[in-house]
Amino acid sequence: MADAIENETQTPAPFRRSREDHWLVRGGLTLATLAIIGLLIVVPVVNVFSQALSKGLGTYWHNLTGDADTRHAILLTLTVAPVAVAMNLVFGVAAAWCIARFQFRGRTLLITLIDLPFSVSPVVAGLVFVLLFGAQGYFGPWLREHGYQVIFATPALVLATAFVTFPFVARELIPVLEAIGPDEELAARSLGASGWQMFWRITLPNIKWGVLYGVILCNARAMGEFGAVYVVSGRITGQTDTVPLRVEKLFQDYNTPASFALASVLTLLALVTLFVKVGIERHARPKVEKKE
């Protein structure tokens, strides 16, 4: 704001508008942007809901709740995603604390390794767990002897989901903690607070918006994960199908309205995630200028 006023007074009139584009360029680029967002994002989203509701609201509701396998898929996703998110949340807070507050050897390496799962194909992420826990895997025989089922069961779904969504919370919290700085924590310690008192009363309240955003984003990805879960689940209908896998199965069975009905729930989840993100940014921005 201050910059703009300064420019008004200092820059000579003919050059004041030097940052403004010709109205044709302006209009053209704005239209192009609206067209890009419209074609790439809005039309697909509208299409999901239109397909889902094409047979009326009654059928839509029946598609979501009337099928036992679909109900099981929803329940399974509501089990797997929270566990994976909770695992990554604890890790994210721990990793952000040591990276943002301390200097140590291997710090840069740790930051790089946290991003590693982002650049691994989800299919490969699923494969590595099959290699470890599958029937022919390294721990497969031992697990079978002791009666544990990991692959083609819920534990593998949790592991694969946690792998794919691994970086989200940590990536979100590191810049937030760095931006806040350690002053308040140092003050709390010097006034005699114990480590956990400091954490619960100072650190956590300070980073709560970052935590919330990280969790929301991590959860959206966890509930929507497809490739990794596809590989480790064995796709047993009514047993290891999560919501995205169920969506695919219904689609391949040419049950388009039912698959889009279920897809519309995931789309709604994505839209709510964006909505919450915007809300959090408006809340948190004035306090902490986020640096990416």
């Binding site: 697909p44 604890v90 194909s121 929507g224």
Partner: protein
């Protein structure tokens, strides 16, 4: 700021120990298992698994489509990023929020809806197919969904740089007689370049590994629209774990090279940004 005395702030060993343990158990050891499994193959076996005609065609499709999609993302990402930073228009905040939708929308949903939109009787296919433009079950379709999944990367890397650009540089260019186009090409674009390269690399890396969205639109035509992750899945379904692992190692190596590249670029752009 990060060099606070470890005796003053608590929890260093606990948080570092926990982070490293969790990282090792969930990510490093599983990935290591993949390389261990691949190393049980002889070089000839490995080569036979990763260099078949089918595999070569799959790499071509994977990397080719990812490259084209990332390039398209740079182009449209620049337009959208520029418009969102520089201009005001109705619905701007909604448009800005929608840019992130591809990050939040499950890829399977994206693939399914794109496949439905572009078939002959789909909303967009009904116009495109009569014109001879086939999107569903072609490489063009793969590029389309990859453009979708990678779209936010370039916009979000370019936006902060554009916001931070100072007015004086552009004004100086204008005062010295440059027209708008020259200012953009010679002053603005060079400043944006590191962000563009980072955005491109991120979108490309994401596109190489993408699976969920592609299987719906590709139609899985062998030698034509089969991508490398699909090849891994079909090897797994035949219980050929060793072949699947060998192809996975090729993909992983490509990912690691990309990750290293992104890191170098980020450091470079921080120094020049």
């Amino acid at each position: 700021m990060a060099s606070v005395n470890r005796r003053v702030l608590p929890g260093f060993s606990l948080s570092l120990g926990y982070s490293v343990t969790y990282l090792s158990l969930l990510v490093l050891i599983p990935l290591g298992a993949c390389f261990l499994k691949a190393s049980s193959l002889s070089l000839a076996e490995f080569w036979a698994a990763v260099w078949t005609d089918q595999a070569r065609a799959a790499y071509r499709t994977t990397f080719g489509c990812a490259l084209v999609a990332a390039a398209v993302n740079v182009f449209i990402g620049l337009i959208v990023g520029w418009t969102l930073v520089r201009y005001d228009f109705p619905l701007k905040r909604i448009v800005d929020a929608l840019v992130d939708l591809p990050f939040a929308l499950p890829t399977a949903v994206a693939g399914m809806v794109y496949a439905t939109l572009y078939v002959e009787n789909g909303w967009l296919g009904q116009f495109l197919v009569p014109m001879g433009i086939q999107v569903a079950h072609t490489r063009l379709g793969i590029v389309m969904v990859l453009v979708f999944t990678g779209f936010p990367f370039v916009v979000r890397t370019v936006q902060p740089v554009l916001e931070a650009l100072d007015a004086e540089t552009e004004e100086a260019a204008s005062i010295l007689g440059a027209n708008r186009f020259q200012t953009f090409m010679r002053v603005i674009l060079p400043t944006l370049l590191p962000a563009i390269v980072t955005g491109f690399a991120l979108a490309f890396a994401r596109a190489v590994g993408e699976y969920g969205s592609v299987i719906f639109i590709s139609g899985n035509v062998r030698f034509e629209t089969e991508i490398a992750p699909m090849l891994i899945v079909s090897r797994l379904e035949e219980f050929s774990y060793r072949e699947a692992t060998a192809i996975a190692v090729v993909l992983l190596t490509a990912s690691f090279v990309l990750l290293a590249l992104i890191n170098v670029l980020e450091k470079w752009s921080k120094r020049h940004g």
